[in-house]
């Protein structure tokens, strides 16, 4: 089969747009994931059995089922829950980002929990003996230190989610992979296109991991005396 690289090169403007969309979707999903993850991590460490059970149930469900299935579930389930008969415009973006956010929330919960538990017990004991309430010691003493420690795994989660965003093609979100697929529908040149798409992902993941290690170094500075 002749490889027609021109078809891929001509498509760069379309792919650029799709790459930006991919980044945006991932960033919003991670933002949702961080909020859910923090709440779930705290719930997971709660004294109340019910709260703990709810958090564990959430985490187990979203880590224990495939993201692809979750995307379909959210996509077809949300209209029923919200009683929509005709779906709002661009509904698939809402469903796609929500599914990714819910999924990453479960992983990020475990990242935060590990971060919180990695802080020496003496820290919270010291805070409590200074008269801080449990919530205060969490907020002013534990979480700021924990957050620094979870930067690398959070970066990994961002990268994993960026790659997984290609699954959103299944509900016709024109992110990077689906864009490539649509172009192949016109050019019938899959090999140059998917190599190009792979390079796009590679560049994006590399940039993110550079950024994460920069953040790690910057936040780690005041640890060095």
């Amino acid at each position: 089969m002749d490889l027609n690289w021109k078809s891929a090169i001509d498509s760069i403007p379309i792919l650029n747009k799709a790459a930006v969309l991919t980044l945006e979707l991932t960033a919003v999903a991670v933002a949702i994931g961080v909020v859910i993850g923090l709440l779930m991590a705290l719930a997971r460490l709660s004294k109340s059995k019910v709260v703990r059970a709810a958090a564990i149930g959430y985490i187990d469900f979203f880590r224990g089922t495939p993201l692809l299935v979750q995307i379909f579930l959210v996509y077809f389930l949300a209209p029923k829950i919200f009683h929509w008969d005709t779906l709002p415009n661009n509904y698939q973006y809402f469903a796609g980002v929500l599914a990714m956010g819910l999924n990453s929330g479960a992983y990020i919960a475990e990242i935060f929990r590990a971060g919180i538990q990695s802080i020496d017990r003496g820290q919270s004991e010291a805070a409590r003996s200074l008269g801080m309430a449990h919530s205060q010691s969490m907020r002013y003493v534990i979480l700021p230190q924990a957050f620094k420690r979870v930067i690398p795994p959070l970066g990994n989660e961002f990268i994993a989610l960026l790659k997984d965003s290609s699954l959103l093609s299944i509900i016709a979100i024109q992110e990077l992979f689906y864009s490539g697929k649509i172009i192949v529908g016109r050019t019938f040149q899959p090999i140059p296109m998917y190599i190009t798409v792979a390079l796009y992902y590679l560049v994006m993941t590399q940039l993110i991991s550079q950024w994460v290690s920069y953040m790690e170094r910057r936040l780690g500075k005041n640890d060095i005396r």
Binding site: R52, A53, G57, D60, I81, G185, R186
Partner: protein
């Protein structure tokens, strides 16, 4: 240890129960579709099906179906908004109310007609067999025992299954043809215009076609079951476009010939 396990189990159970409750409530209270005040026609299609619907170099939808639905929209005074989905997801999304109509080179079949309301037929096609140029496959009968690829949920899949075979089902026709060229398949069965278009666009590819003798099929625009009002409008518009030459103009643009009688 035992305690953690029971907490974990309760958690998963709680979550599943709440999911079921939520869907249960939702399903029972969905009301029939309210009339739309805006004159927007939301249309779904699968943009990997040249020359009927695909995206051009500027990422804009184009193709025969795209031109036709725009002409119908213009005639009826609708603003046409086209959204994409994979072919096998189009009918579920139409039923879910995501679109008002689906135009996707969709053949009218009895099975589909139980789930959607079809407009009058707007195009005739049949299934062609694409093979490599040195292939020994010459007739439909020769397909038996061979590895055959189709696009999932298409009439190509239906005719191959009618022969008592299980085809490999791909997401798009280009995926199937690529596998044919790579040697993963002996033949691809797909709509005749799509096979012809592929060969026209890729004259150097090691692909030829065989007409076979599959039955004629007719494409229809799919609408939500019960939407008789829109169906009447679309049919009237199709008739008008055929009479005033607009249909023929679009047909000539994409197939380089006058509209055949169907």
């Amino acid at each position: 240890m035992k305690k953690t396990k029971s907490v974990r189990f309760t958690g998963v159970a709680l979550l599943l129960v709440s999911l079921f409750v939520m869907t249960g409530c939702g399903a029972s209270t969905v009301s029939p579709s309210p009339a739309q005040s805006e004159k927007i026609l939301k249309v779904g299609t699968d943009p990997t099906f040249a020359p009927f619907e695909f995206k051009d170099e500027k990422d804009q939808l184009t193709g025969f179906d795209s031109d036709l639905i725009k002409a119908i929209g213009e005639d009826l005074g609708y603003t046409v908004k086209v959204e994409s989905a994979s072919f096998d997801g189009l009918i579920p999304s139409l039923q879910a109310g995501k679109y008002d109509a689906v135009i996707a080179a969709m053949t009218i079949t009895d099975e589909r007609a139980q789930n959607v309301l079809f407009s009058d037929k707007y195009l005739m096609a049949t299934q062609y067999i694409a093979t490599k140029k040195d292939s020994k496959i010459k007739t439909v009968e020769d397909l038996k025992g061979k590895k055959v690829g189709v696009q999932n949920s298409t009439t190509g899949q239906m005719v191959v299954e009618k022969l008592g075979m299980t085809p490999n089902k791909y997401d798009t026709v280009p995926d199937a043809i690529t596998d044919l060229i790579n040697g993963g398949l002996d033949a691809v069965v797909a709509d005749s215009p799509v096979v012809l278009y592929f060969i026209k666009q890729n004259p150097n590819a090691d692909v030829q076609y065989i007409k076979g003798d599959f039955p004629k099929e007719y494409y229809g625009i799919a609408l939500k079951l019960g939407n008789q009002e829109l169906d009447d409008k679309v049919n009237a518009s199709l008739k008008k476009l055929r009479e005033n030459g607009k249909y023929n103009e679009i047909y000539k643009k994409w197939f380089n010939e006058e509209t055949p009688k169907i």
